[in-house]
Structures are given as C-alpha cells and as structure tokens.
Amino acid sequence: MSHVNSSVGGVLEPILDRYARNPHHLMQILRETQERLDFIPEWAVDYLAEALALARVHIQAVIDFYAFFYDSPRGKYRVLFSDNVTDRMQGNTALLSRMLSKFALDQGQVSSDGLVSIDTTSCTGMCDQGPALLVNNYPVTQLSSQRIDQICELIKAQTPLVEWPSEFFNVEDNILRRDVLLSTEMASSQALKRAIELGREGMLAEMKASEFRGRGGAGFTTAVKWEACKNAPGETRYVVCNADEGEPGTFKDRVLLASFAERVFEGMTIAGYVIGASKGLVYLRAEYRFMLEKLHAICDARRKANLLGKDILGQKGFDFDIEIHMGAGAYVCGEETALIESLEGKPGRPRIRPPFPATHGYLGQPTVVNNVETMAQTTLIAQNGGAWYHGMGTNLSTGTKLLSIAGDCDRPGIYEYTFGVRIDKILEDCGARNAMAVQVGGASGTCLARHEFGRKIAFEDVPTSGAFMIFGNNRDMFEVARNFMHFFKHESCGFCTPCRVGTTLMSDILDKIASGKGTHYEMNELSRVHQLLRTTSHCGLGQSAGRPVYDTLQKFRPSYDRRLKHKDFEPAFDLDDALASAREIMERDDVSAHLGTES
C-alpha cells in the first residue's frame, strides 16, 4: 500500500496546516488523516500529539470514542450496513449475509488481504430509500441482491469509489408534502435583509411573537434561548447548528441540507446577527459526509455575495462566518453539550447542566445550539413576521414540522405539516393501510398503537424530532424494541453508571427472551431497570433508552408473552454449550458429558 512509503509529514502537514494546528479541530484532522490512510496508525497519533501539543492519550481517547475512527486497519473498502429497524424491514440482514459469504468473512472481520471489512452501523438516515450501506463513509442506497453482487465485483476489482456507477450513490429528497417551509421561495439574502431591517431587537421580537419552539425534539422556545445567549456575559458568542441527525428513522435534516442549505445558513446568520456572534459552526454527522463539498461550495458562494464574512450586506461590524465540522459516528453527540465537547475536539460526553450552553457553551462562551430545521424555519419568520408564523399550528406548537416517514407505507419520504395534524391523517397521506404501530420521534420517542392514532403531532401531545416509523400488522414489536435497545447499548457514552450498565442489562434480557429462555422474571427486571434509567441517567440518551421497551410492553405485550417459558426461572446461557470446550479437550461425548434443560 502506498501510504507506507509516504513520509509522515508529507501526509499530515497539509492537513495540520489546513486546520491551523488548532487542537480544537482534532476531529477534522483525524477524519482527513483517516481519509488519506484508511485508518489512524500509531505514528500518526504520535505526530499529531507533538504537532498539536496534545497528550497522546487524549488523541487515543478520541479515536476510541467514535465508531468511525479506526486505530487498526479496517480494509481498503470499509462497508457498514445501516441497521435501523427500517433497514431490517427492507431486508438488510439477508443482503449483509450475502456480502459476507461472497468474501467468506465474518461480520466485523477484515479480509486477510486487507481489502475489505463488513459490519453494521446505526441508522444512516436513508430510511426512505433503504436498505442502505456506507462504503468508506459514502452512502449507497436502495440495495438489492443485484446491487450487492455488483458492489462485491467492484471491490474485488479494487475499483476506486469515483468510478462506481453514480446511481449507486443517488440520494433522493423524496419530498412528498410541502407546506410553507418547503414551498416558499426565498432568494439568497432575502430573509437576512429583512432581519437587518428589523434590527437585532426587532428580529428577536419577531421570534418571540412567533413563539417558535426548537425542532430538535425538546421544544425549547428558541427566542428564550437566543435572548439568554445574547445577554450572557462573554468575550465572544457562537451559533451552532446541530446537524447530527442520529435519531433512528430521522432524515429530514439531510433533505434540508441537500436542497435548502441556503435557508439553513441564512438562519444561522440571522441567529448570529441577533445574539452578536461572529462565528457559526455546523456539526454534520459523519453519515452525511457526502454533502460536505457541496455545503462548502454554498458557503463560498455566500462569502462572495457578502452574505458571510466581514461587514455582511454592508452592515459595519456585522461579521459572521460558518465552519462545518464533521462528527465521527456517535449518536450521543446529538445532545447539545456532548456536541460542543465534540466540536472542541474531545470525546462526546454530555456535560453537567447547568450551566447551559446559552451561557457556557463552545469554549466556555455563550452559545446558541439549534437544530437544522430550526435554523431553516427562522428564515420564514424573518421573511413573513412572527405574527404570521404564529397563525399556523396549535397554540402551544406554532408553525410547521417536517416528518421523516418510513416503514410500512406506499410513499415514504418527507412530509411537512402544520402542528396539530392527526396521526391517522398522516398514515392516510403516505399510504399506510395496515399500520399496527407508529414510532414517533425515533428510538427515544413514543410508540403509538392503533387506538392512539387520533392523537396529534404537537409538543403538547406527541412531540417529535421528526421520525415517523410505521409498522404494519405483520411486524413483531418485540423485535422492534430489541433493535432499538441494541442501538442504545451501542451508543451509550459510558459516563454514568445507570446508562453504561443498564443499556447492556436490558439488551441482554431482551436477547435472553429472544432466545426462548425468558420467563416472567425477566419481565419484572425490564421494568425495574427502565425505571432506574429513566430517572437517574445523566442525559436524555439513558433517560429514554428503556422507553421503546416500556411502550411495547404496555401496548404489545403478547409479542413478549408468546416467547416466555411458563416457569419461574431459566438460565440466560445454555448449560450444555458451556460444557462444549471441556468435552472437546477431554474427548468425551457420553451421556454424562451433556446437560439437558430441565422440564
């Protein structure tokens, strides 16, 4: 391989220069290093530690924390199958097996020639066009047996990704219902100009009048956040756009960034104008790497048009620019303080709150963190005014919401509705005829059964960050919950005791039930551990990790019960299997060398 011969500095120096040897850019430096070398070798860690004046162990800890950084070779082609429940429903398991057998590999194994490794990863945000996979962090959608076979041939021939058929990498927007956000025209700068006309206080007043609530899921009033940040003492202020769309089943931010990035950047600029920030940071999830160059180009164009940079639109002293930071595979970084830690070049462990980012955020300075959709919607409020915006939706949830609809329906994709829309109306629109359950808000959201389809999408009823996964009559809700629980176990940052251990305990219990060894004993255990996680975990990840299990236990109990043994207790492990090594060593296979299960 060529990189063995390339000189150490030859590879790393240009990358270090690009990021001005700033240790806060460690994540970006590591990503680019890996893009050059396929993994991050020890010599690179040593070199970067020296160049960035960081403890070696710090760099190691960052590599260790993020799923997409590798400290050992993972193959020239690193294939990761998206493993959300929607990918499962679309048949990813069979496709994964097919590919593994083509290369005679086990999952997670690297081929002996160092060519390829194949594994699974958390939801890649392609639920409306799955099953999907990532190859060297670039998405391939609409997988079929045929497409898998073609990919295997391309890998065997060592064809560079740029020479793969371009349709493999097609990512469709699939916008199927437009309301104001997706249908209103906006010339670049139109919203920003209006905001400047209104002035900082005026724009903030419009935000207040709109009673707009953040679209990341928690629904905090955006104007309150902005005002707190604006008034917080600090040397400098930051606007952070949370584009770490990791919630399984969500992909609306992907579409906004693909086709409405102008609005997103303009919204950030307006936020910067209001709070007095000169820098905006986009935290883009690693799975959306394919958009990076395009987003950079849009920023460049905005700089040329004086919509970013110094004295924006001729306003003396209105300086604002945007940097795009990539994540590296960690769902927890969607939590705003973990995201800030990651932006600072550290493992993404959520901070203790308070203090909140509005007063102590990026580099300890006042920081506004808003979701991609929040930033985009802000431009509508600037264009048309807070009162106009307030006229849409419900009293407590104004405006419109993008939903990422996937699962058992005829027309998966992006749907924009005003808040207050009923679940059954949505199901009708997307062609879901036999829905038995809907998971609203992703793995950490709410599981609704048919009798609840009259409920409404709104912060005061069914809140959501945007995910809307539909499960038809034939689906097994136990397996849905088990998929989500494995996701949380994989994504727990490990900081606090209840989440670190509890997500593993709950996953193990569900696996035990799945293997036919569950009893009513396990059902009680699930509830007990969930209650602990819900109340004592450090952040939202742990607090909601047990939720899919709890919801499905309430609403789809038979999917658990039919797996249970009608006895008091059953071991989690197979006793006879536990004797296998000893049988082999002692060359025994007589009756007494086996243990049956008890009746």
């Binding site: 004993y521 008091d568 207790f569 071991p571 989690a572 492990f573 006793l575 536990a578 004797l579 296998a580 090594s581 000893a582 049988r583 060593i585 002692m586 060359e587 025994r588 007589d590 007494s592 060398a593 243990l595 008890e598």
Partner: protein, 186 residues
Amino acid sequence: MLSLQEPPERKLRVATVSLSGCFGCHMSFLDMDENLLDLFELVEFDRSPLTDIKHCGPCDIGLIEGGVCNSENVHVLREFRNNCRTLIALGACAVNGGLPALRNGLDVREVLREAYFEQLGVVSNTIPNDVELPLLLDKVHPINEVVFVDYFIPGCPPSGDAIFKFLTDLVAGRTPRLDYPQMRFD
C-alpha cells in the same frame, strides 16, 4: 406472647451442600458453637456433610455453599432447587462465583493445561477424562445464574453469627437481616 417463642410444631428440614467452594462456609456453620444447640431445637438435617445423606429429599430450606463450576454442580443444584422450598446462597462463591470465578478470564483449556501439565511438581501428562468425572463449565457461575435463589448470605465465609441470625429470622418469619458487623463480603 409466650406461645410465639415456642419452637414450631415440627422442626424445619434443612439440607446443605458445598458445590465449587472450600467448605469454609460449612466450617463457619459449625463455628456457631453453642448457638448450634438452639438451632437444632428448630431444625433437622437432610442431605448435608453433617449427615452423609446422599440425596436431598423434600426440605424447607436448602443452603448452598460454592459456585457452579461443573456439570455435577448443576445436577446437585437442580436437585436442591427441586426439593427445597427456600433456597439460600451461602457465602461469596454461591453469591458471586467467588475466588474460583477468577478463572473466568481464562479459557478452560488453559486452566486444565496449567493444572495438569505446568504446575510445579505435577508429573502426569494427561488430563483425566474418566466418565465418572464431571466436566468443567466454561465459566464459574453464581448459583442464581443457574436456578432461582430466594436469599443470599454474603461473606467469605459468613460468620457463624451471621448464619445463625439469618436462619433464626427466617424460621421466625421475619425478613432476614444481618446486623452491620455481620455484613461482610470477605
């Protein structure tokens, strides 16, 4: 009040056994000294090293010392669970695998090789494989990972006082609790 302090109508039947343990918990049981006499007013023994009865019959209480390290341990533990209304894990090994579970980080093959080939003074060159010998499980397990267990008395070993306190609470129908100095993991 007086009637409450009288012994139960019949003595409770107790069985005890040591699985993968060192008999230290049984020694500790004997360490109850004069309390043993009070205890014998309340209980009688079924299968136990104290009686040499080979198989456990229907019992009120089963006391299990030691973790589960081989197939024979599993059979005996099941026999106890099937026959004892209340099953108690007695001591660290039954409660969490104890020191025998230190082998759980190692492969069974390594363990046997070390014991039968590498140990200083060992002259054999085979691993015994008579059909009479129970096979090792790949890991040593606390007994509650193999059967349902009602109560746990920690300690390595639990003191005679702790065992006495626990059993007399149980016999009297009180939720068993150890006094602070009796609560030991070592």
